[in-house]
Symmetry: C3
Subunit: 107 residues, 3 copies
């Protein structure tokens, strides 16, 4: 068994948890904050059997991949003015640490 610690964006957590639970994988959710942007994100702890690690990584890749989306129009000083080109921002992304587990105990 390994402990996967995954830091993901709040936008993707719902979809990710649904996909994990559907496959019978377990997870615990912790509210967290990015050290650089100081924005809220989510840290998931997942104790996963060795043979399932690749499967779980694929689920995270599909539900949390980094992508560029057109940003809703920024609220400008003058509501009538629409910026010429849409602004794109990057959302999503996941940073995952795979940690060795010496023993799992359940009571």
């Amino acid at each position: 068994m390994k402990l996967l610690i995954a830091i993901v964006s709040n936008d993707d957590v719902r979809l990710l948890l649904e996909a994990l639970v559907e496959e019978g994988f377990r997870a615990t959710k912790l509210a967290s904050t990015g050290g650089f942007l100081r924005k809220g994100n989510t840290t998931l702890l997942m104790g996963i059997a060795n043979e399932d690690i690749d499967g779980v990584l694929q689920i995270i890749r599909k539900t949390c991949r980094r992508r560029t989306v057109p940003y809703p129009f920024p609220v400008t000083e003058h509501p009538g003015m629409i910026p010429h080109e849409a602004i794109n921002v990057e959302v999503g992304g996941a940073t995952i640490f795979v940690i060795p587990v010496e023993q799992q105990v359940r009571y």
Copy 2:
């Protein structure tokens, strides 16, 4: 030294922390949420010397064991109607990961 990461029910945390502190063990508490039931629970981080691991696991076993309790009467549509048999629910339980620690540093 090992890092014990224990996910326990909110009902048992007070008793568990009291028992750990009394024996001189240290712990840090993080509020967490179960991935499946989406209910609040608690994640404890405990840096424990190798020779104390079994003792700490016994403390967790005694204070957090899974047990069945009669559920307070569900609020039914008709207050006069009492369900024939009490409903039992499972509470408690602990999931613990024992993680190797290469080094502990204190400033």
Copy 3:
């Protein structure tokens, strides 16, 4: 790469994060509580390349060292009475676990 898990006082987090970010190190912040004093503190997760571990530990040492500060006068029953000698309290301090990482994955 190693995962550093550092438990530090809330007073020192801002300075610590600024110093880490300035050097290009990454961190994720979790709100936590001390098991003994039940006071709020902060747990930082930091995935750090092996050759940078000592540098990061030095940054934590400089920004979070344990120190004694004169305590603001305790509010006594009788506002006119000032205690003869200032009361000193200890603040700061850091407890850090260096955990092996088998693999880091980013999507």
